[in-house]
Amino acid sequence: MPILQEFKYYRPTAMSEVLKLMPKYKQPLILAGGTDLVNNLKTEVAHPDAIIDIKGIKALQGIKFNNNILTIGALATFSDLIDSKIIHSKFPVIAEVAKTVGSTGIRNRATMVGNICSAVACADSGPVLAAYNAKVIVQGKNGKKKIPAKEWFKGNKQTVLKKNGIVLAIEIPLPANKHAGCFVKMRRYSGEDLSQASVLILALPGKQYRIAFGAVGPIPIRANEIEILLNGSDPTPELIDKIKDLIPSVISPITDIRATKEYRLHMCRIMFERGLKAAVSRLNGTGPVYGCNLF
């Protein structure tokens, strides 16, 4: 399908050029990986008068770790996340998430920042960023701002990003040197399929937990109610059963072509239990290897 609309194309090499270009157009759009944007251009969901390709801006590349904060640049692809040594050693569950996104050909191009800018309800990056209390670094007209992940998503395909705002990076604070996580994603087959439901669990020292669900509401859901019940306790079978009964009040899945509401609700209970047990056993050094499929 050809793209039937015309637009200007720019590939600046510095952020200062981007900031000068943006106000000159009514609907400028930023292009990084393009795996969502090019589809939106074909289907005319997006109508930009200018496309600003930021792949030439070196400052937006890379994954860094300083002062216990992980910084994922706007140009870091999911393949970069999977290959990153620092993610492998400090935040392995981020690589576990990244491995479930699309296929290698998509992951070589698609960025995590692009994923949260598209902000579709089933975006795989949502739960992990919610659980880690990540911050989105935005360059606006009046300088830089840090927006907490829980405020970032406004609805399906909606974020708080204002016109002419650009996401520079995502910051993720290390919650504890020794911590573990687990991401369980429900999908029909690997390689392409979008998430039908997902759960991300972090197990921290001192019996502290963080739980987030994806694709079962318009935005990622951080399950504070569950965390309150779990924190300070071992996940006994009785406690897990109690929490599983609480899950339907925490999430709000819909029925669509990929799964029914009832199926998603049912599977979230199972995925939560599997994910929690895996995260806790990983914290104790005995869990399944990161990246294995628990669904």
């Binding site: 194309y9 251009l41 050909g105």
Partner: protein, 168 residues
């Protein structure tokens, strides 16, 4: 407005005027006559439009042609050297790993990238690497067999063989 764009395609320098909205897949097939990348789903799901940019597989249906200015592109046509099939391609022939052949260029490029990074992948890693390439004929097993067969029969490191194959 057309913009002068240049890139290396299978070792040859290409200079071409491109409209910003032209898709890389269409430019390769319709303007440059490179027919191995195919248009299947046209939305990045099926992998039949797979090509390599700087040695990494991408979906050429999701790339604007203008984005690849200054990059090195490899399509299936560029894997051969001196008209010789790569060992991986020969293994596909030996194992009857295709019927209609529509998915094959993408599958071979994905497998080439895998072996380049990981010369001894296990079956799960092979499946993961080709998971984004849909085949509607063979049922995948002959494809997996071809890759496995190559790994088990080759004495020299497959990664070196592949590195020679990829011109980018």
């Amino acid at each position: 407005m057309k913009i002068k764009t240049s890139f290396i395609l299978n070792g040859h320098k290409i200079l071409i005027d491109i409209e910003p909205q032209e898709l890389l897949l269409d430019v390769l097939r319709d303007r440059l006559g490179v027919k191995s990348p195919k248009c299947g789903c046209d939305r990045g799901d099926c992998g039949s439009c797979t090509i390599m940019i700087n040695g990494k597989t991408v979906r050429s249906c999701l790339v604007l042609a203008i984005e690849v200015d200054g990059q090195k592109l490899t399509t299936l046509e560029g894997l051969m050297q001196n008209n010789q099939l790569t060992p991986l391609q020969q293994s596909f022939l030996r194992n009857n790993s295709f019927q209609c052949g529509f998915c094959t260029p993408g599958v071979i490029l994905s497998a080439t990238e895998l072996l380049e990074r990981n010369p001894r992948p296990d079956e799960d890693e092979i499946k993961e690497a080709i998971a984004g390439n849909l085949c509607r004929c063979t049922g995948y097993q002959p494809i997996i067999d071809a890759i496995t067969h190559l790994i088990t029969t080759q004495n020299s490191s497959p990664s070196k063989e592949k590195r020679k194959g990829v011109k980018s």
